[in-house]
């Protein structure tokens, strides 16, 4: 007879062993995800599992908002209506000017044999919820791969850029806000066309222009728009306004702090600027040699740097 404990007391491997197992599994996943991004398929499946909870969590708030919207007073509606009418007139005037201007621009560009900048397809989306993680600045939108959202697209609200799509799931997608420390966006100063790269400044809700020389021509109040030269963003989307310029003789670079013009942490309804990039491939050394053939069949190539 063997002396084994009765099955009554059997509890599988000891907790320490299990802990070691799951901890090493976690570390493996972390490294695979952080270094190689090998686990995006698994993430997609898990995100689908989390989706009902996300949707259910936001449902009561959406319902409450709709209910309060229903019970607004007539006076309020009237005043809002007249304000909107006035705004519409202004907008219509601007739109007419814009139409003429864009037609003129297209004509001039044709005359100069330059590429026309196409309007991108837009996908309206709603912010489902903000990421639970207090370490980075992300929001989740209610549109995903099924709605033709692609990674790398710019996300804007009525006032300007709020972020970039960094991950697309089946039904939802993640936006890294422009205030995130890891988010870079190529910009241009409207006043003088100076190009720069804007980085998020994290918790302060500001963004910074880095690597600008201390004598760069930047003034407080300068407006920044996307430059469009990176190929993934359209040009001319408002990004931020310079609020502070610090020039320190000890430092090689100026410290330029800007405030986003869009409601980066407030906007609920946003637009995803999708559509493909129509510019030619970034010329590599070997491509440059026989560029003429290549360029006609160029696909889109993002982040070509």
């Amino acid at each position: 007879m063997e002396h084994t404990p009765p099955p009554f007391f059997k509890r599988g491997p000891a907790p320490v062993v299990r802990l070691a197992f799951f901890a090493s599994l976690s570390f493996a996943l972390l490294i695979l995800d952080a270094r190689f991004r090998y686990v995006d398929g698994l993430r997609d499946v898990l995100a689908l599992a989390a989706y009902p909870f996300q949707k259910a969590a936001t449902a009561p708030i959406t319902l409450a908002q709709r209910t309060t919207e229903f019970f607004v007073s007539q006076a309020q509606l009237r005043s809002e209506n007249s304000a909107l009418r006035a705004e519409l007139l202004n907008a219509a005037r601007d739109a007419q000017r814009y139409q003429t201007a864009s037609a003129e621009l297209a004509q001039l560009r044709r005359a100069n044999d330059m590429r026309t900048r196409f309007d991108r397809q837009t996908i309206p989306a709603e912010v489902l919820y903000t990421g639970r993680d207090p370490y980075d600045y992300k929001v989740v939108l209610d549109k995903g791969r099924q709605h033709a959202v692609t990674a790398g697209s710019l996300v804007i609200d009525a006032d300007g850029a709020i972020g970039q799509i960094t991950r697309v799931h089946t039904l939802v997608s993640e936006v890294t806000l422009i205030t995130d420390k890891a988010q870079a966006i190529p910009v241009q100063i409207v006043r003088n066309g100076l190009r720069a790269v804007a980085f998020g400044a994290g918790a302060s809700g500001m963004i910074e222009l880095r690597f600008l020389p201390a004598n760069a021509d930047v003034l407080t109040g300068d407006r920044l728009v996307t430059s469009g030269i990176d190929g993934s963003y359209p040009a001319g989307v408002a990004v931020a306004t310079v609020v502070r310029v610090e020039r320190d003789a000890q430092q090689a670079f100026a410290r330029v702090v800007c405030e986003p013009v869009a409601g980066v942490d407030r906007s609920r309804y946003v637009l995803v600027l999708a559509g493909e990039d129509l510019r030619p491939d970034y010329p590599l050394a070997e491509q440059a040699r026989r560029s003429a053939k290549r360029r006609s069949s160029a696909g889109n190539r993002r982040g070509a740097e």
Binding site: P15, L25, D33, A47, F53, A57, Y129, D133, Y135
Partner: protein, 169 residues
């Protein structure tokens, strides 16, 4: 707050109660809170509760899988909450023999360091991945979570207790 008196013999737990409690916790976690740092980690709280009360049913494996779902739902590095919840489950199971002899508020004192540990694990992973220090408000969430422990444990024991009273009548 009704204390969990030792002479109470509770009904056996139904699996549906456990599933429902985790679902509600995930739902609360995904609510659009204005500032995430002050929000306790409800999933961790529920996980600690079941590890303490049902260490045979709920353990490291369940904690790990739920951590993965939380990671994917929040769009953070896959595995950070999984690691934190596996550690949390381990310590909760280790404490499960001891903790139930205390009243609810002393239990909360046991739970607070566990929740702080889980938060610290997530923070260390984030720092290793290159994030900036989040500042001291990050401690508030776990402490509020520990303060909610008596309420949570009273709520989660309710189905078992109510079944008992209905049977007595």
């Amino acid at each position: 707050m009704a204390p969990n008196k030792p002479q109470h013999i509770l009904q056996p737990v139904r699996p549906s109660t456990i599933v429902a409690s985790f679902s509600v916790a995930l739902l609360l976690a995904f609510l659009p809170w204005p500032d995430m740092r002050y929000v306790p980690d409800f999933v961790a709280l529920v996980l600690v509760f079941w590890c303490v009360h049902q260490p045979r049913l709920i353990g490291l494996g369940v904690g790990w899988v739920i951590g993965l779902v939380a990671d994917a739902g929040n769009g953070v590095l896959l595995g950070q909450h999984a690691l934190a919840y596996a550690l949390l489950a381990f310590f909760a199971i280790t404490l499960s023999r001891r903790i139930l002899w205390f009243g609810p508020w002393y239990q909360a004192l046991h739970v607070a360091p566990l929740l702080l540990l889980a938060e610290a694990v997530v923070m260390v992973v984030r720092l290793a991945a290159g994030a900036a220090l989040p500042g001291w408000p990050i401690l508030i969430g776990p402490l509020i979570g520990a303060a909610l422990w008596p309420l949570v444990s009273w709520l989660l024991l309710l189905p078992q207790r109510r079944a008992l009273e209905a049977g007595a009548l």
